[in-house]
């Protein structure tokens, strides 16, 4: 029977299927970080259980880590990180601690090591696990109870997801990026539009994206409410993987590529839902509200809440404008920011830093604007330094930092002050996400850099 990519990967991992029960799915890779794992390890200890497959488990420190040199000063953050270290050493789990050359945001680290491969099932106690779907893996976020379940059994009981095809055909114009695609998709279908679905991104505009860009797209599928995003693996995927530390070698490589090449939705596969987007029509996109679905082209104006179709959207928009301190009708390009953040598991990869640096090169960040550039991993930082990008950032007046989640969620000292406004390459513009009372506009790295130079939301074309 014809199947979609998601169904094929799912079916290949069913350990047990029984009437009236969820499928028991085998998990190929389990990623951990310090925030959502302590209670799971506690649960294991309490029940006298072991980690079934430490060799399919990997931990990193990312959410709490400071991005300036030195130890963690907040004692509660430190306890959380120390707890992860103790748990990993007690249960035999590989950990990349602060200072390690492989440390970084969990969703940046695994792909760059070549651990994320097509056709795998990957989970992490973190909703942006959807990132790994860029390789044709079925990857999704889970809660702490499920983390404990996977630690103990390397499997998860799950109800099958539905499938949604998002086809983006055409060619992106200069200055339009993967971030703009995914923000436009979320604005179109809403923050619940993907609910219950695994989204498969397809179409010519997706096929021409680099792996980094594909990760940006899949990363934000969760912001449309989807469990996962996926892109069928192709030569771009294989080229990215070949030679990475954990990628297969020799005969194993050939066997892997042969099997990966089968991983695509059949031509006559039926999706539960489909939507189409024309890449030619896309322009840089920004959010104006307090959820990632509240976005518009940068050339638009702050919308009038009364213009929405239903009362729930109108109420959300009114609240959002009040929180964001915005007035309907203001051109988005006139919105002033205090802070620009380039980083996160959405846009903290080398390609993102190169894009931002290319815009900044030879220019200076507008006065009164603070710009933070936080690489997604220590390896990304080293690579950027080898390419001289750190110099470009510093010379432009931006702060070049150490790797971590940083201002994406402000669990470390990198936060917005109440009322401060940011243009951020991260993935969530929720109230208070980047610091209590902080206001966030989600943007691409290109828009972030142009905004830093002009002090108002801008794209490179405005410079």
């Amino acid at each position: 029977m014809a199947g979609t990519l998601a169904e094929k990967v799912w079916d290949a991992h069913v350990v047990r299927r029984a009437e009236g029960e969820p499928d028991l799915l085998y998990i190929d890779l389990h990623l951990l970080h310090e925030v959502t794992s302590p209670q799971a390890f506690d649960g294991l200890r309490l029940a006298g259980r072991k980690v079934r497959r430490p060799d399919l488990t990997l931990a990193t420190e990312d959410h709490n880590v400071p991005t300036t040199p030195g130890p963690i000063t907040d004692p509660v953050s430190r306890t959380q990180v120390d707890t992860l270290r103790r748990n990993c050493s007690e249960f035999g789990v590989k950990l990349f601690p602060m200072g390690d050359v492989d440390q970084g945001i969990v969703h940046v680290v695994s792909p760059q090591l070549g651990l994320t491969q097509p056709g795998m099932t990957i989970v992490c106690g973190d909703s942006h696990t959807s990132t790994h779907g860029a390789f044709g893996a079925l990857a999704f976020g889970i809660g702490t109870s499920e983390v404990e379940h996977v630690l103990a059994t390397q499997s998860l009981p799950l109800k099958p997801f539905q499938t949604l095809a998002v086809t983006v055909d055409g060619e992106l114009a200069e200055g339009v990026t993967a971030k703009d695609i995914v923000l436009a998709v979320i604005a179109k279908i809403g923050t619940a539009g993907g609910q219950g679905y695994v989204i498969e991104f397809r179409g010519t505009a997706i096929q021409t994206l680099s792996m980094e860009s594909r990760m940006t797209v899949c990363n934000m599928s969760i912001e449309a409410g989807a469990r996962a995003g996926m892109i069928a693996p192709d030569q771009t995927t294989f080229d990215y993987l070949q030679g990475r530390p954990h990628a297969p070698r020799g005969a194993d490589w050939d066997a892997a590529v042969a099997s990966w090449s089968e991983l695509r939705s059949d031509d006559d596969a039926i999706f539960d839902a489909e939507i189409h987007l024309d890449a030619n029509e896309l322009t840089p996109f920004v959010t104006w509200g307090t959820n990632p679905g509240q976005g518009l082209p940068l050339s638009a104006s702050v919308p009038d809440p009364e213009s929405f179709d239903n009362e729930s959207d109108r109420a959300n928009a009114r609240r959002a404008l009040e929180y964001m301190g915005l007035t309907a009708g203001t051109p988005l390009k006139e919105i002033r920011v205090d802070t620009v953040f380039v980083g996160s598991c959405t846009n903290g990869r080398i390609e993102d830093l190169r894009a931002a640096a290319a815009v900044l090169k030879g220019h200076t960040v507008a006065s009164g604007v603070r710009m933070l550039v936080v690489p997604g991993s220590a390896k990304v930082r080293l690579q950027a330094e080898a390419e001289g990008l750190d110099k470009v950032f510093s010379e432009a007046g931006a702060e070049w930092r150490l790797a971590g989640c940083s201002m994406c969620l402000g669990m470390n000292p990198d936060q917005l002050a109440p009322g401060e406004r940011s243009a951020s390459t991260s993935n969530r513009n929720f109230e208070g996400r980047q610091g209590k009372g902080g206001r966030t506009h989600l943007v691409s790295p290109l828009v972030a850099a142009a905004t830093a130079l002009r002090g108002t939301l801008s794209s490179p074309a405005d410079l």
């Binding site: 350990v15 047990r16 009236g20 028991l24 085998y26 190929d28 925030v35 959502t36 302590p38 209670q39 506690d42 649960g43 259980r49 079934r52 430490p54 060799d55 399919l56 990997l58 959410h63 907040d74 953050s77 959380q80 590989k94 973190d126 909703s127 976020g141 889970i142 809660g143 702490t144 109870s145 499920e146 379940h149 103990a152 059994t153 499997s155 009981p157 923050t191 619940a192 609910q195 912001e223 409410g225 954990h246 297969p248 194993d252 490589w253 066997a255 892997a256 099997s259 959820n291 729930s312 959300n316 609240r319 969620l409 402000g410 669990m411 969530r428 929720f430 109230e431 208070g432 009372g437």
Partner: protein
């Protein structure tokens, strides 16, 4: 996990849609390494507003939260469920829940009862006109009742069974360990491991 059959408690009308888990519990409260003590973080930013519903003493002992659509979107943090439960909530009623939030709730023993938005509006009206009114949620019959209102709710059968029996998911899976072992034996040799590259 405790069993859940029926629960009666004060209903709290939360007239907001798209309540994401960053609102349920902001990141700064996620640093604890236990499953308890998260009640101070519950709706922390909103509770600073004296008008916020939980600051009304008539609702402060509430255990049934009645919220707008798309409750629990965003971050997968199970801390959101613990914060609700630590505060004293046993049930959340909404017309639509985010997937991960639903899964987390079912593991931790919080019931997410999905009713129509029309029924949510009726319950909101009742709770606002009679603050302190009680709502009964019966998992056996899948009904929500409150003075003059009866609504049926959706919950998937497997979750319902586990909650009614108070069953530990891990224990259930471990009964099938031999099947997991058999599956592992068939995995291709090229698949990666995290230890020694």
């Amino acid at each position: 996990m405790d069993t859940f059959t029926t629960h009666t408690g004060v209903g709290v009308p939360l007239r907001r849609g798209n309540v994401d888990t960053d609102q349920i519990i902001p990141a700064e409260y996620l640093k604890r390494v236990t499953r308890s003590g998260f009640e101070d973080g519950l709706f922390a930013a909103w509770r600073k507003d004296t008008e916020f519903v939980l600051n009304n003493p008539l609702y402060s002992a509430g255990s049934v939260l009645v919220a707008g659509p798309d409750f629990g979107t965003g971050s997968s943090r199970e801390h959101a469920v613990w914060a609700l439960m630590n505060y004293g909530f046993r049930v959340v009623i909404s017309s639509r829940f985010a997937d991960i939030f639903c899964g987390n709730s079912s593991k931790a023993g919080l019931l997410t009862a999905q009713v129509s938005q029309g029924d949510v509006e009726l319950i909101w009206k009742l709770l606002e006109s009679e603050p302190g009114a009680e709502v009964t949620v019966d998992l056996q019959s899948k009904t929500v009742t409150a003075k003059g209102i009866t609504a049926t709710f959706e919950v998937d059968d497997y979750t319902r069974w586990r909650l009614l029996e108070g069953l530990d998911d891990i224990g259930l899976t471990l009964r099938q360990e031999s099947e997991v072992t058999a599956f592992e034996a068939k995995r291709p040799s090229y698949m990666p491991t995290t230890i020694d590259a």
